[in-house]
Symmetry: C2
Subunit: 191 residues, 2 copies
């Protein structure tokens, strides 16, 4: 049964790959970005060095893959939050809150890695996707008259994402939730 065999191989490869990414993330959060070697990664992931090199050529490639996975998990989570929100009135707030809390939790390691990787194409792509997600929710509520319609929803989404990036500099979850309220206040129809 060659098909089943192939599927088994595929699953195995995916599991090894995940283990490599997890090991690397753990090592980076312990030793910092530049203190991690391929040997340590192989050891922590429980595979041989030769096997590791069959998956990735160097630490930078692993960090790139790890970052890509992080971003894709984040986007999935935000899409899920949007789809689970009971109505359009709460949807935008729920997604912005989830994004701000995510940004606050990201910590400095992720930011260091992102800077180190010089923002590859997958980062730009994910950012565009996120921007579109928020823009569409804003456009929907602007059409309903809840939010300001005098400004392009794309500009409003750009404002939102930048304003919420302040979450990484805030000291508590309460402060992050206040930030979401300030940001939403900027989107409302002017008095």
């Amino acid at each position: 049964m060659p098909k089943l065999w192939n599927e088994t191989i595929e699953t195995h490869r995916r599991e090894v790959r995940e283990a490599i990414l997890d090991a690397t993330a753990a090592l980076v959060s312990e030793h910092g970005l530049r203190g991690v070697t391929m040997s340590q990664i192989a050891e922590t992931a429980g595979i041989g060095r030769a096997t590791l090199y069959k998956y990735f050529p160097d630490v930078e490639a692993i960090l790139g893959a790890w970052h890509e996975r992080q971003i894709s998990h984040h986007l999935q989570h935000l899409t899920h939050v949007r789809d689970e929100a009971p109505d359009p009135g709460t949807r935008l707030e729920a997604v912005l809150t989830a994004y701000a809390l995510m940004t606050a939790a990201r910590g400095s390691h992720d930011a260091d890695i992102a800077a180190y990787l010089h923002h590859g194409p997958h980062v730009a792509h994910a950012h565009e996707h996120l921007h579109g997600l928020i823009r569409d929710m804003i456009a929907e509520r602007a059409a309903d008259g809840d939010l300001r319609a005098d400004t392009d929803p794309g500009e409003l989404a750009t404002y939102c994402l930048h304003a919420l990036s302040a979450a990484s500099a805030l000291p508590s979850e309460a402060a992050v939730r206040r930030l979401v309220q300030l940001t939403l206040a900027g989107l409302r129809n002017p008095r």
Copy 2:
């Protein structure tokens, strides 16, 4: 008259230093960050290579000094805008507008240089200064009841600076001015 002589020397050194920074900025904006050599800088500044090395050990040190000068000019400009504003009601808006326009004009070269220099201590110091400048203006107007007093002025300043960083992603001056209005709306007392 040794004092006068010393002053002349001092003035001369300052002028050479400024010329080096100007030459480097011009070369970087033409050739990019990594395409600039000490020889080119000396030639463009109109001095010998040996003289250049008496001022700076390498290109990175020059870029650091140039960036420090940029930041200090920006802070001076914002302080000036604040002091020139006719009353507290317009002061904050004037400073936030100046900051947003500055951010929009900074372009990608400055951002590249800032990233390349890994945010030295002078950047952190300048950022703190700027944050304090905005925080104090917000506190003043919150005390007058114009802005929300339910949130710490420091948090509000953090929100402002992040929200206005969106200016670098906006397509026009009109869009930057709209961003300032959105940001200010977030600071107002909630309805």
